[in-house]
Subunit: 361 residues, 2 copies
C-alpha cells in the first residue's frame, strides 16, 4: 500500500479524521441516519459555496459535474463562450461541443490568466448564452480573478459558469455575492476527501435556463437532484457514494470549524511559502507571480534537468508531485498544496526537491 505524500493537483491527502469515517460501514441511503448526514452536508456545502441556493451532490468525478451543468442549462446549438487558460478550460469546451453547443473558445494561453479587456471584446461580438471559466487552472498553476470576470459578464448580462473543481474551499469564492450562475467542485481537492463526488450549485437564473434545456440527461438530471435535497428527508435519486458523503461531511465540518476566512488565509500563506522557497532555491515560477495559484505551484524545469528525473527522484523518496500536461510535458513540474497540507509535508517536499536538484545535477 502507498505511503506517499500526495503533493499533487488531486486527489490530495485525506486527513486521518476523514479516513476514519471511511472505515465505517456505509449507511443505507434511505434511512434517518442518512437524511441527517445529508442534511448536514448540504448545509455545510452552502456555507462553503457561499450561496443560499441548493448545492447538489452527484456521484461522479468533477468532470461529471461539469457535464451536468452543460446538459442541464443549454439547448442544442446554444452559443456559449469558454474563456480558457489551460487544460481544464479546454475540457469544458470539449464537453460543450460533445453536446452540440455552438461554443467559442478564447485561449488566453497556458500560463496566463483571463485578460478582462479581451474577454469584454469577445462578449461584445456575440450574444452568448453563458460564459464558462476556470477559477484555478491546475495545468498551469494560475488562478483567475472570478469576481472581476463576473463583473465583466454582468455588464453584458451573460450568465457565468465557474469550474471551481480544484479551488472551492481553498480560495475565496462568493457564489451569490459575485453573481455566479453555476459552480462545480468535487470531493478530492480542497474538500480533503477521497474522489467520487462532484457538487453543483445553480443560481435562480440558471434554474430558469434549465427549464428550457432540451439536451438528453437522466443520471445527471439536476432537477431530480434538487427535488432530492429539497425533501424534508433529503436524499439522492440514485444510490450515492455514501462513504464519500460521510467523508465530505466530516471534512467540511473540519473546514467550517477552522472558519473559511482562516482556511483561505492559511492556504494563501502556504502558497506564499512555496513560491518563496522555489525562488530561494533558484527555480523560476512558470506563471507570473501575480496570478500564481495558492493551491498549486508550477515551476519551470531548470536547464540541465529532466522533469521526469526530478519527479521520479522525489517519488522514490515518498513525495509525489506531477509534471506538465500536453505541450508543457517536460517543461514544468507541478507541486500541489491544496486541502490538507501540514508544515511537515511542505518541509519534506522542499528537502526532496533540493536534494533532487543537487543529486541530479
Amino acid at each position: 500500500m502507498s505511503d506517499k505524500i500526495l503533493m499533487t493537483p488531486g486527489p490530495t491527502m485525506v486527513p486521518k479524521e476523514v479516513l476514519d469515517v471511511c472505515h465505517l460501514q456505509p449507511y443505507h441511503h434511505r434511512t434517518p441516519e442518512f437524511y441527517e448526514l445529508f442534511s448536514c452536508l448540504n448545509s455545510n456545502l452552502k456555507k462553503i459555496f457561499k450561496t443560499n441556493m441548493d448545492v447538489l451532490t452527484l456521484t461522479s468525478s468533477g468532470t461529471g459535474g461539469m457535464e451536468a451543468v452543460v446538459a442541464n442549462l443549454f439547448k442544442k446549438g446554444d452559443k456559449v463562450l469558454v474563456a480558457s487558460i489551460g487544460h481544464f478550460g479546454e475540457r469544458f469546451y470539449d464537453i460543450t461541443k460533445a453536446y452540440g453547443l455552438d461554443s467559442d473558445i478564447i485561449d488566453f494561453g497556458w500560463g496566463n490568466a483571463v485578460d478582462l479587456n479581451k474577454l469584454e471584446d469577445a462578449l461584445k461580438k456575440n450574444e452568448y448564452k453563458a460564459l464558462i471559466v476556470t477559477q484555478n487552472e491546475t495545468s498551469t498553476g494560475v488562478t483567475n480573478d472570478i469576481k472581476a470576470i463576473a463583473d465583466v459578464a454582468k455588464r453584458h448580462d451573460v450568465p457565468v459558469i465557474v469550474d471551481a473543481v480544484s479551488s472551492l474551499g481553498g480560495i475565496p469564492l462568493e457564489m451569490d455575492e459575485w453573481g455566479l450562475d453555476a459552480v462545480v467542485t468535487c470531493s478530492q481537492k480542497c474538500l480533503m476527501s477521497p474522489p467520487g463526488l462532484s457538487f453543483v450549485a445553480l443560481s435562480e437564473r440558471a434554474w430558469q435556463m434549465a427549464e428550457e434545456s432540451d439536451l438528453p440527461k437522466y443520471y445527471f438530471d439536476l432537477k431530480k437532484a434538487r427535488r432530492g435535497v429539497q425533501k424534508e428527508k433529503p436524499d439522492n435519486p440514485y444510490t450515492p457514494a455514501v462513504s464519500t458523503i460521510m467523508a465530505v461531511k466530516k471534512a467540511t465540518d473540519m473546514l467550517l470549524n477552522i472558519g473559511m476566512d482562516t482556511v483561505y488565509k492559511n492556504q494563501h500563506l502556504i502558497g506564499e511559502k512555496v513560491r518563496k522557497t522555489i525562488k530561494d532555491i533558484g527555480l523560476k515560477l512558470f506563471p507570473d507571480e501575480s496570478i500564481s495559484s495558492d493551491l498549486l505551484t508550477a515551476v519551470e524545469v531548470p536547464e540541465g534537468y529532466k522533469a521526469g528525473d526530478i519527479i521520479n527522484y522525489m517519488s522514490e523518496r515518498g513525495i509525489l508531485i506531477t509534471g506538465g500536461q500536453a505541450h508543457l510535458k517536460g517543461k514544468i513540474i507541478r507541486i500541489g498544496h491544496m486541502g490538507y497540507i501540514t508544515d511537515e509535508m511542505l518541509d519534506l517536499t522542499f528537502d526532496a526537491l533540493k536534494n533532487a536538484l543537487s543529486d541530479l545535477s
Copy 2:
C-alpha cells in the same frame, strides 16, 4: 454512527477486510501503485463477468452505467425493446426515452419473470436494435432466466443488454457464453463494496454499434474508458473513486478466492434458507417460488399488519429491511441477502421478523 445490519437491496454489508482498505490513504490515480491495482481489478472483473472483453469502471452509481450503455450504443430514434418485470426495467426504459430512442416496453407485471413466448412474439413484430432486460429485479425479488432470454433474442439476431446491477457476482451470468452484448453492474451489491462505482462490459457487436452512435456523451464515453483500460499502464480518463476501486479489488479477490461456483452455490443456499424460513413462519412469498431471487426475498405483508410497522420494529432492533416500491408500497416487505451475508445476520433477521409478527399482532 449506524451499526445496523443492512438486509437491503443495496448498499449491502461491506466485510471488515474491505472496510480496512477504505481506511487507507487513496492512491494517486496516475502512479505505478494505481496501475497495478487497476490492472488486477480489471482482471478480477473479467473473471466475474465471465468475459474476455474489457470491463470498464465508471465513477457513478449503477444507473450511470445503464445510461452509459444507452448513450454509447444507440442513435436517436433507434428502436429498442425493454422487457420489464418491475421498477428497474422501467428505469432502463425511462433512460432510453430520455435519450430520444423509439423504445417499446413490454411489461410482464411486477412479480412475474419474462415470458419467453410473449417476448418472442414482440421480437417478431418489430426490428429492434436491442433488447434490454433486468437479471434480478430487486423491486419484486424475481430473477429472470437470462440464458433463455438471450437464446430467444439470438434467434432474431437482436443484441441483449443486461442490467445485472444487483446480481453480478451473486448468481450465474456468463457474458461470453450466453452471447450477451452489454452487462452493467455496480460496487454496492454482490461485489460487497461501498457504493460509487459502476462496471460495464460490451461485446464486439456492441462496440460496433458504438461506432455508429450519435448520442451526446463525454463523461460516460465508453470508448475513452476502453482506451484507458487497454493501456500498458491502465487508467481512467478522469479521476476515479480510487478508494472504492481499492475496495472492489479487495472484495473481488475475496470472491475469486472462494471461487465463483461456490459463491453462487452459497448464495443459492442462502436464498433457499430464507424462503424456507419465510414459509415456516407462515408468511407468503410475493413471487412464485420458481422465479424467486436468491439475492432478495419479497414477502407479502400478512393480513392485520402494516409493512411500515414491521420495518420500523426490525430497524429499532438493528435489522434494516425495506418495503415495496411504487404500487407495492405497503403490500410487500423486501429482505436483501446478497453479497456479504453470514448465518448470524440471517438468524438475527429471522428472530427480529418473528418477534415483529408476534409483538405487532
